[in-house]
């Protein structure tokens, strides 16, 4: 667990239901420390994506609390322009579905969307867009339309559109899902690099093979939508009974760890 004075995101006893009927989170508590790499592990439909959306202030708790950078994050608080601007610029979210994130007519405009809505000066935005395009090696795509991009290229654009805002915390929902091995490796290395640059990373995944590289702490969610265990990657991967109980692995699933 991170030291209390370093905690930047904290959810406590959080309950969220869709349509007031379908429980997605049931009494979830989790603290994220500054500069951590935390993986939310769990089977499909256990509530990982919902928790990430709560952490990004896109969904709100029915009961329970969420605090970011020492401030309570509620629907009401995000109505405040100053708070909303500060929160949105400090927390970035890369959705699983890159198509949802790439809505502008061109890649360049897509990447500029966030910093422009933040109210940054156009010159600064233009320079940041150029830098981000170069960093993610997508300068050649700058004037392309989204429907002309492959899945991997769309993912890069989606990440660029978040990185350009220089957030302190990066939330990734199933980052390596549906990507070819080359793009997967590129993304894993990028996340490690961003972590070294001081970013806090929270990701939802069920890819156990890459866990040791992309996370140093895990929160395991059960199919009852609760966090049943937090611990280091080693502790979690060694607990085969736990992974079986939360339906992350099959009885005959091999694990790389000896």
């Amino acid at each position: 667990m991170p030291c209390a004075d370093e905690i930047i995101l904290s959810v406590h006893d959080l309950v969220h239901r869709y349509l007031d009927r379908y429980t997605a989170l049931d009494g979830v508590s989790l603290d994220i420390g500054r500069g951590e790499k935390v993986a939310l592990l769990g089977a499909n439909g256990c509530g990982k994506s919902t928790l990430l959306k709560v952490l990004d202030g896109l969904l709100f708790a029915d009961t329970g609390t969420y605090e970011a950078f020492g401030e309570k994050v509620t629907e009401d608080a995000l109505e405040d322009e100053q708070f909303s601007r500060a929160f949105r610029s400090r927390v970035g979210f890369v959705f699983q579905n890159a198509d949802a994130m790439v809505f502008s007519p061109t890649v360049r405009e897509e990447i500029a969307f966030g910093p422009l809505t933040m109210g940054l000066d156009t010159d600064v935005v233009e320079q940041r867009v150029v830098d981000t395009l170069a960093m993610l090696d997508i300068a050649a795509l700058a004037d392309r339309a989204p429907y002309q991009l492959s899945g991997g290229q769309k993912k890069r654009v989606a990440i660029a559109s978040v990185l350009v805002m220089n957030p302190e915390v990066l939330l990734f929902d199933e980052p390596t899902a549906a990507l070819d091995p080359r793009t997967q490796q590129w993304l894993i290395e990028l996340m490690v690099e961003l972590h070294h640059a001081g970013k806090t990373i929270v990701l939802a995944t069920h890819d156990l093979d890459t866990l040791e590289v992309i996370a140093d702490r895990c929160a395991v969610m059960s199919e009852e939508h609760q966090i049943v265990r937090t611990g280091t990657v080693g502790e979690v991967l060694d607990d085969r009974r736990l992974l079986l109980d939360v339906n992350l692995i099959h009885e005959r699933s091999p694990l790389r760890r000896a």
Binding site: F93, F113, T117, T122, E126, P146, Y147, M165, A258
Partner: protein, 311 residues
């Protein structure tokens, strides 16, 4: 940890391990049928996507019109449209059409493709509408092609009617050519940027841009559903089955569109969207645009002068 592979994964039904009777060994001797209306519609949708992609390729060529700043191009081609609307003689209109053809060639648009794209639809839409106007009962005058008599009057195609119809058809073809020139040489994104600069409300432009962008995605979904259905269709599907598929896929696409709309909105909010949109600067017009505007003004004045001289 080691993998265990000895135990059965699921209870396999007996029929699944028995071979099915496949195609008749005497090869393809069954009845052949043409594709259904459904296949044609889906193919049409795929064609729309292909055409949009091809049009974008043309917009990236380094031709004359592609170099002109989009706002200047929109305004100048709109001005040429007004000049076309003011023409009262066929030669005047043909002069503007010739300008459009020259611009197409200078913009590296295959002229055959450009002409076909315009003239394929003109006879269908305009030709049929103006056909009655060529007859002496609508436009009296000198009959050049007698068709018979009605209540003692000679009925036929008149030279005045032909001239009027020719004027309308040429005007429509020229106007459509100018619009096609604009859309083929300007990428959708630049066209939108030009609309924004021409004081079209930003929210309207944004909705237009997103509708166009996600139309491609949803068209892709429809195609995938159709291909998945075709892959599992052994016997010929009847029209009723086709209708059912259309209804089911319309429902599925509607559901997908709703979910997608929610996600897109969340993605926008996550990046600070609060109802207002800001955009990057668009390029300022330079010397190229100045030369272009002067040339187009000379062309417009010459065409108007020619038209007046021929009246």
């Amino acid at each position: 940890m080691t993998a265990h592979t000895s135990a059965p994964v699921t209870a396999t039904p007996r029929w699944l391990v028995t071979g099915e009777i496949g195609l008749c060994p005497c090869s393809s001797i069954g009845r052949r049928r043409k594709g259904s209306y459904l296949a044609k519609t889906i193919d049409g949708a795929a064609g729309v996507v292909r055409q949009a992609l091809f049009a974008d390729d043309l917009a990236k060529e380094r031709g004359l019109l592609q170099r002109i700043e989009p706002r200047v191009k929109v305004v100048s081609l709109l001005a040429l449209l007004v000049v076309t609307a003011l023409q009262r003689t066929v030669p005047g209109l043909l002069a503007v059409y010739a300008v459009a053809l020259a611009l197409a060639a200078l913009s590296r648009i295959p002229v055959g493709f450009f002409v076909k794209r315009v003239w394929l639809f003109i006879p269908i839409f305009t030709g049929i509408v103006v056909l009655p106007a060529t007859l002496s009962v609508v436009t009296p005058g000198h009959v050049v092609l007698p068709l018979g008599s009605c209540f003692g009057h000679r009925v036929g195609v008149t030279s005045q009617g032909l001239r009027g119809a020719g004027l309308i058809v040429t005007r429509v073809a020229t106007s459509v050519s100018l619009v096609v020139l604009l859309t083929l040489t300007t990428s959708w994104s630049r066209l939108l940027a030009a609309l924004r600069a021409l004081l079209v409300p930003r929210m309207f432009v944004m909705v237009l841009a997103m509708a166009y962008r996600y139309l491609f995605l949803l068209l892709g979904s429809v195609q995938e559903m159709y291909v998945a259905r075709t892959a599992r269709t052994v016997a010929r599907a009847d029209a009723r089955g086709g209708r059912r598929f259309v209804a089911a896929s319309a429902g599925a696409v509607f559901g997908k569109a709703t979910t997608l709309a929610d996600e897109v909105h969340q993605a926008m909010v996550a990046r600070g969207y609060r109802g207002e949109i800001r955009v990057l600067r668009v390029r300022r017009p330079g010397w190229t645009e100045l030369v272009w505007v002067v040339t187009m003004t000379v062309v417009a004045v010459s065409v108007i002068g020619l038209d007046r001289a021929l009246r």
